[in-house]
């Protein structure tokens, strides 16, 4: 068990430091957790490992990140000349052992037209370049009726990538995945997301094409990686509900801690009900069926 865990961490470190050659590393993110931190993590590990030179291809950002040696603004270069522009910054001859590693970061692959993804990737990729492509999972793809049966950009990239890094937020106690999903659908971002600590799912393809999947918690401040142990959840569940209530009926009668916390945190509908400083005032709203006579002193509800 622990052996495979340490293997997983070693594998992750090898991937992040670009020791394993990989022409395309796909980083999948969402509005809940940006891929920026994992990119920085890769650059941190790779630069420890040797010199690197970063070319930043921007569809989205207008700012050149401090780590980038070259910044290509796709809009001003023009998409048709993009691969040319990227290639011009890349060394043409096979690299000497001492020369820096070249990394091309594409800040969002979502904006590459579907019919050109494969071409573009083919034209940049070479033995001495690693492409780090970010793909935003939740941005919907606009379907092209002429390419009805062509795979989606994500499946294309997923197919081509040697390594896939998918980032997800680490959820706090008062938020479960379903609630998160509900919020995100409404374009609402709960607090505490887009954090420097996040969850990372590494899918690594071997030469045979077989993939290995590992989950990690990553803290990009301390550069600490911890394998997510999945059995843990099941253990907890069993510990928490040994109550006699369990098998009495087919209904679930117990309350989980999560539910208890949720119950405690139910927000009351009105502020008035929560501010106790008024000393028990009666909040009265007149209803149309209320019979109130102004002249009658006994009618005063106060």
């Amino acid at each position: 068990m622990s052996g495979s865990n340490s293997n997983a961490t070693i594998l992750l470190k090898r991937v992040l430091s670009l020791n394993e050659f990989s022409p395309l590393i796909l980083c999948i993110d969402s509005i809940a957790q940006t891929a920026n931190y994992v990119l920085e993590e890769i650059l941190y590990n790779a630069s420890k490992n040797g010199q690197i030179s970063v070319i930043y291809v921007s569809f989205e950002s207008v700012n050149c990140p401090s780590y980038a040696a070259k910044f290509i603004d796709v809009e001003s270069v023009g998409f048709s000349r993009l691969s040319q522009a990227i290639s011009s910054y890349l060394p043409s001859s096979p690299p000497a052992t001492s020369s820096p590693k070249h990394i091309v970061i594409v800040d969002s692959m979502n904006h590459i037209p579907k019919n050109q993804v494969a071409q573009l990737m083919a034209s940049i990729s070479s033995k001495n370049v690693t492409v780090l492509g970010v793909y935003h999972r939740d941005i919907p793809e606009i379907s092209d009726p002429t390419l009805e049966h062509y795979p989606s950009v994500l499946s294309l990239l997923y197919f081509m990538a040697t390594t896939v890094l998918e980032v997800n937020p680490i959820l706090s106690n008062d938020l479960d995945e379903e609630e998160l999903k509900d919020e995100l659908v409404k374009y609402l971002i709960p607090r505490g997301l887009n954090n420097s600590k996040f969850q990372l799912t590494l899918t690594n393809r071997r030469k045979s094409g077989r993939s290995l999947i590992h989950n990690f918690y990553v803290d990009s401040n301390t550069h600490n990686y911890e394998v997510v142990r999945e059995i843990k959840d099941d253990d907890q569940d069993e510990d928490e509900n040994p109550e006699a209530l369990q098998d009495l009926t087919t209904f679930n009668l117990s309350t989980s801690t999560k539910q208890k916390i949720a119950k405690d945190q139910v927000a009351l509908p009105f502020l008035e009900a929560q501010s106790f400083n008024t000393g028990g005032a009666i909040v009265y709203q007149f209803e149309k069926d209320d019979d109130y006579d102004e002249e009658d002193p006994y009618e005063d509800p106060f």
Binding site: I139, P140, I142, Y187, I189, L193, N194
Partner: protein
């Protein structure tokens, strides 16, 4: 409701509405305001403009604990509201009209845009905003262009309008209305969704306005939630959720 509950609007970790550090190093940043169609963000836009010109949103923040910021040039452009509305509202906040510029994108926009190539229209809109370092641009409902211009796409608006606009200033504040119906997979609705998400990915901070889930209440208008966006901010964003009450042209914030 006691006045003690009242809160100041603070977005960044240094107790500022928009931190001075954001304006340093010549970077361009985006802050997105998302609003529902029935909780208009006009008051928030006005307060943000006020805070950038006067250094602090006096109309929102009651005490002086918030940091006094620098006064910055502000340009406001809206695809739904006529300049007069901003002049009236900002006039009431005692913001001098010399300190800001309002770009009229309502009157005759349709007449001007009909039959014109889209990139020229984007460019025409762009040219109305001054190119000025350290300045703030506020743009309201640019997503309307998706509906107004036939064949326009989210990517096109982002690359030809939003990104160039960001390069014209230090901070672009973009107010956009959200529409969510997950089952609607028409092209138009997907484009709108792409637009909204694109804004969120590019933003250093998101301010979302929405009505109470419990429905209309007389003492609370809605909630304002401030969270980090997809882009890294040079200053820590104070993630927070407020309740707000908008009444008789004044707005008050309360902690949730």
């Amino acid at each position: 409701m006691s006045s003690a509950q009242r809160q100041d609007l603070v977005v960044f970790g240094d107790h500022s509405v928009i931190s001075d550090q954001i304006f340093q190093n010549g970077f361009h940043h985006l802050i997105t305001i998302t609003a529902s169609p029935f909780t208009s963000p006009t008051w928030l836009i006005n307060s943000l403009v006020e805070s950038q010109i006067l250094g602090r949103p006096y109309s929102l923040n009651s005490d002086s604990s918030a940091v006094q910021g620098h006064s910055r040039p502000v340009t406001v452009g809206s695809f739904v509201h006529e300049p007069q509305l901003f002049h009236n509202a900002l006039g009431k906040l005692k913001v001098s009209p010399q300190k800001y510029k309002v770009v009229d994108l309502v009157t005759d926009l349709v007449a001007k845009s009909l039959g014109k190539p889209k990139n020229r229209l984007y460019n025409d809109i762009l040219q109305q905003f001054p190119l000025q370092a350290q300045s703030v641009i506020v743009l309201e409902q640019p997503e309307l262009l998706l509906s107004l211009l036939e064949g326009s796409t989210s990517d096109e608006i982002h690359s030809q309008l939003i990104a160039p606009l960001m390069k014209r200033c230090s901070v672009l504040i973009l107010a956009t209305n959200i529409y969510n119906d997950g089952e609607d997979t028409t092209r138009d609705s997907l484009e709108l969704s792409r637009f909204t998400l694109g804004c969120i990915y590019k933003s250093i901070a998101i301010m979302s306005l929405r009505p109470l889930e419990t429905g209309r209440a007389s003492d609370v208008t809605g909630t304002l939630r401030i969270t980090r966006g997809g882009a890294c901010s040079p200053v820590h964003v104070l993630e927070n959720e407020y309740l707000y009450l908008n009444q008789k042209e004044t707005t008050r914030l309360f902690y949730r």
